[in-house]
Structure formats: structure tokens, C-alpha cells
């Protein structure tokens, strides 16, 4: 369980997040949507403890996240950002192995090695294993980074009972991906988020993908949570018009959600 209470974050005089309270439960996929400049990325950075809010607090299972040690937090909190550049020639495997850095001191253990094998397989990047990361396309890089982030949170096989929750944040994870990989990514995120001890919070732009995959949608506008709930609750015609400034039409798909078309 992740709880943010009355958080505000501003840069200079400009508020990016204004007095917002929100909580995220484990085993559910939460997706944040909102127009450009709504404060989506900022919110994720505050929740993931990259930014410290000027007021309010962020708690992981009731413990203030700013009291936790960096190294300890890195074992259970991972963030997938967009467009990661590597300054020097590193192989794909070396990049994925970085996800295990918080878990070993000197050299990676056999467990770390096999987790890296597993996540690379899971993300279909095993064939690039020895390629230089710099030579990959944007979409391939994104898959490698997702593998790295999964490696960071991957279950190392030890008993789960006493372990604290794991926290996965995704800041526009679908950037640079073609439609097949977008769907594939969302399915993998969906599966990962189903684990009982994982809190997952992501930012996406595509309202239809959000509606299709999220358990819980958070609509953000001007640094405030406008609506928060299931797709059917949140994505109403009035709200979309008001927040995004476009008029939607809902086309029934035969599934639980309808497809949104913009006029």
C-alpha cells in the first residue's frame, strides 16, 4: 500500500502538484492519465522518492519513504523512465545486470545471473545479449530497460511472507514502441502487477490502452487529482471534454470497456 497525503511540489513559484492525497493498493494496476503539463511525471517522481514534496508525505506501508535508506529502498522500488541514453559502450546484458546492483555487493551471485537470464527471456531481448546498447533502436532500448527494471524487483525465490511490498513505477513506458510491443508491454505489466505484494503505478497517454488494462485510473489535471476509479467511473464524456478539450464518442466493443473515438 502506497499513500500520499497532502503532497505539494512546486518549482519556483509554479505549482506542479497541489495539495494532493491519493493511495494505491497492491495487486492492482493503476494508470495515471492527463493532458500535457498535468503533473503526471512529477507525481511519479514524488511517489518514487526522486523528488521531495515541499509539503505532505509519501508512505510505503505506513513508513515515510524519506526515512528509508537509498540502498534498501532500491531493493523494492524500481522505475522505468523513457528514453535512456547510455554514455559509453555497454552490452545489453550489462545494462540489465544493473537492475541487480542493489542486491549484490561485489560480484553478481548465481541467483542474480539467472534472474538476468530470466528477465531477458521474458522481455525477448536474449538475442541482443552481447550487443552494444548504443546500437539498439528506441523500442529495443525500452525493452532492455524494462528487463532491467524487472530484474530489480524480480522474485529471488526466497519466501515471500515476511518481505515488504515491491513498488513499480512506469513513466510513459510505451514511448518508442510499435503497436505490437505496446500491447505486449501492457500485458506484461498487467501480469506483473497482479502479484499480491506489488504496487504498480504508471503513466500512459493512450486513453483506450488505459481503459483496457488498468484496474484503476487516476485523472490528473493542473496538479490535482480530478477523478480516481475504474475506467467507467473516470472516463466520462464530460470529464474528457473538460480536461482534454476534445469530444469523445464511446463505441461499444463487447468487452467491459468501450472504445473511445475522438471527433
Amino acid at each position: 500500500m502506497l499513500t500520499a497525503t497532502n503532497i505539494s511540489f512546486r518549482v519556483g513559484a509554479k505549482p506542479l502538484i497541489s495539495d494532493t492525497s491519493i493511495s494505491f493498493a497492491a495487486a492492482k494496476l493503476h494508470l495515471i492519465i492527463g493532458p500535457n503539463g498535468a503533473g503526471k511525471s512529477t507525481l511519479v517522481k514524488v511517489l518514487a522518492r526522486f523528488l521531495r514534496p515541499q509539503t505532505g508525505k509519501v508512505e510505503y506501508q505506513g513508513a515515510d519513504v524519506h526515512q528509508a535508506g537509498e540502498a534498501d529502498l532500491a531493493k523494492r522500488r524500481a522505475v522505468l523512465s523513457q528514453a535512456i541514453d547510455v554514455a559509453f559502450p555497454l552490452t545489453v546484458r550489462e545494462v540489465v545486470m544493473m537492475g541487480r546492483y542493489p542486491h549484490f555487493a561485489g560480484r553478481p551471485s548465481a541467483v542474480d545471473q539467472s534472474i538476468v537470464d530470466e528477465v531477458m527471456d521474458h522481455m525477448d531481448v536474449t538475442e541482443f545479449s552481447q550487443r552494444d546498447y548504443q546500437t539498439l533502436s528506441g523500442g529495443e532500448r525500452q525493452r532492455v530497460n524494462f528487463a532491467r527494471v524487472l530484474a530489480q524487483l524480480w522474485n529471488d525465490g526466497q519466501s515471500n511472507d515476511s518481505k515488504p511490498c515491491r513498488y513499480l513505477f512506469l513513466d510513459e513506458p510505451l514511448t518508442f514502441l510499435d503497436i505490437r510491443h505496446q500491447i505486449d508491454f501492457m500485458k506484461k505489466i498487467r501480469t506483473f502487477a497482479d502479484a499480491p505484494d506489488i504496487v504498480t503505478v504508471g503513466v500512459v497517454h493512450d486513453l483506450n490502452l488505459a481503459a483496457q488494462f488498468a484496474d484503476h485510473i487516476v485523472l490528473l489535471n493542473e496538479g490535482k487529482v480530478v477523478a480516481n476509479g475504474t475506467a467507467a467511473d473516470v472516463l466520462t464524456k464530460e470529464r474528457i471534454e473538460q480536461v482534454f478539450g476534445v469530444t469523445p464518442t464511446f463505441v461499444p466493443t463487447g468487452h467491459s470497456h468501450s472504445h473511445i473515438v475522438f471527433n
Binding site: F50, D72, A78, D85, F88, E94, M98, P108, Q152
Partner: protein, 344 residues
Amino acid sequence: MTKRSSSRQALLLVLAVVTLIVLAASIRFGAIDFSITQITSALGSLLPGHPEATLDQRIFLELRLPRAVLCLLVGASLGVGGTLMQALFRNPIVEPGLVGTSTGAAFGSAVFFVLGGVFHIGVSLWSLPVAACAGGIISTYLVFMLARSRENARASIVMLLLTGLAVNALFTSGIGFLSYIARDPQARSITFWTLGTLSGASWRAVEIVTVSTAAGILLALHYAKQLNALMIGEEEATYLGVNVNRLKWIILSVNVVIVAIATAFTGVISFVGLIVPHILRILGGADNRFLIVGSALTGATLLTLADLMARLVIRPAELPIGILTSAVGVPVFILLLRRRQYVF
């Protein structure tokens, strides 16, 4: 991974062997050559119960040998310094000489030489290295403070290099001023300082530089994994549990201290720190655990080769070593710039 890491270990072993071979050549050849029998008998004279060393043996033990060892240590310091700076700035064209560290350290040493004599400041074992460190810290700090733009707290590489150019010019003219007001013997040593030379090597210098180099390399290795994480960005490194600000300060301090202390005894030797990590990345990739050890060995080897050339080219006289490293380093630097493979 395992294949790559074992080939890296093999590479490091080869580099270590090459370093030893070059060291052997360095103690054998010079203004006068020593035969292997002379070398062993000179070393033998150190053992208790052996006859007093002859003049030749003393030249070997008190000039040649400390010079060769100092050269290894300084080369290692400069190589590691370059690796650390490049890792910190995520850019392969940064080196300690370009951000003012070396010139500042040389200026600190020059102040010590000229004014220390005038004011009779206590000349203890550590006063020269301390003066050099102070100079190095001031100049490096100046470069970073001035290169920071108002909007963006992070210094851009272009700003950093241009500011480094200006600060280098300032401290070089400071050194010029000191040599202008200095009385003759001091002035001569200052000139050599700006060009770089190992001719002042002594066992005392070796002792001090051994401490700084060894401590610097060990600390750097301790942070190698965190420096690796920094390669994918400061934000990502933070998510991997790295305290980026603390890491920056530690690495910058290690770099300033090892480079400044090396510079205190040899003057400004440029471009070693630039070239060495680059060669190694081509050979074995960018993992900093490999780069730090490798750049210590390769820096030591390259500087020893340069020193050997400096002693042999116009023997029995010798060239300042900084002239040689610049002659090789400048074309490499320009080549790197022109490849434009890197984002500025």
C-alpha cells in the same frame, strides 16, 4: 557475461605484464645504460653486509629507480583520474587537465616554491602536496562554479571545457608571474613545472605518491559499481540506490587529490587521462571495475614509455615529458572531437 569478464581478466593480466616489461626497460636505459649485472649488483648493495654502493650504483638507486617508480605511480594516477572524470561527466572527452585541476595544482606548487622560501613556511614532507592540492581544489572548484548555468544546475560539457580553458589560462599566467618574480633557481624549476618533468623524482616523492595513488585507486574501486549505474543517467542511478550527489563529491575529491599530488612532483602532464580510458573502452568495454584497474596499468605503461622517449631522444639531455604527452594527446583529442559520436 562470464565470457566477457574472463577475457577482461586476461586483458588486465597482459597489461600488468606489459607494465613490468616497460618498467624493466625504463630502469635499464637512459642518459647512461645499466646492464642487468649492474642492476642486480646495485640492488644487491642494499642488502646488509654488502660493500658500500659505487657512484654508478648510487646513480641507479637514487636517480633512476625512484624516477621509474614515480613515473608508474603518476601514470596510474593520471589514468585513473581520467577514468573517474569521464565516468562522472558521462563524457569521454573530459580529463583532469581540461577542467583546471593540473594547472591549479602546478600553480599551488609554484606558490609554495616561490613564496614558501620567502616567508619561511615550514617545509615538511607534506607541505608541497598540500599546496598542490589546495591549488587543484581551487581551480577545479572555480571551473565548476563558473560553468554552471543559471537555469540548469548541471554544467554542460561545452561550458565546462570553455571555462576550463579560461581558468587554465588564468593559472598558467599566474605561474608565469611567479616565475617572473622568482629568483633564478626557483624560476627554472617552475618553467619545468608547466611542461612536466620527472627529473625531480626522489624516494620521498615516491612515498607520498604511493599513498595517494593506492588510496585513490582503492576508493575508486569501492565506488566503481555506483559509477557504472551513473552511466544510464543520474535519475536512474538514484533509483538503483545511488546517492548521486554524495558520489559526485567523493569521486571529484579523489580525482583532485590523486592528480594534484602527482602534479606536485612532476608538473603538468596532459592528455594521459584522456587517452588511457579511451583505449581501454575499445579493448574491454566500459565497466568501471575493469576501467579503473586497467587505466592504472595502462597509464603507468604509457607514461613510462613517454619518459623513456623523453630521456632517449636527445640524450644525454632530456625533453620535458609533458611535451611528449601533448604531442601524442592533442591529435587524439581532436580526432575524438571530430568523430562527434558523443552528445555535448
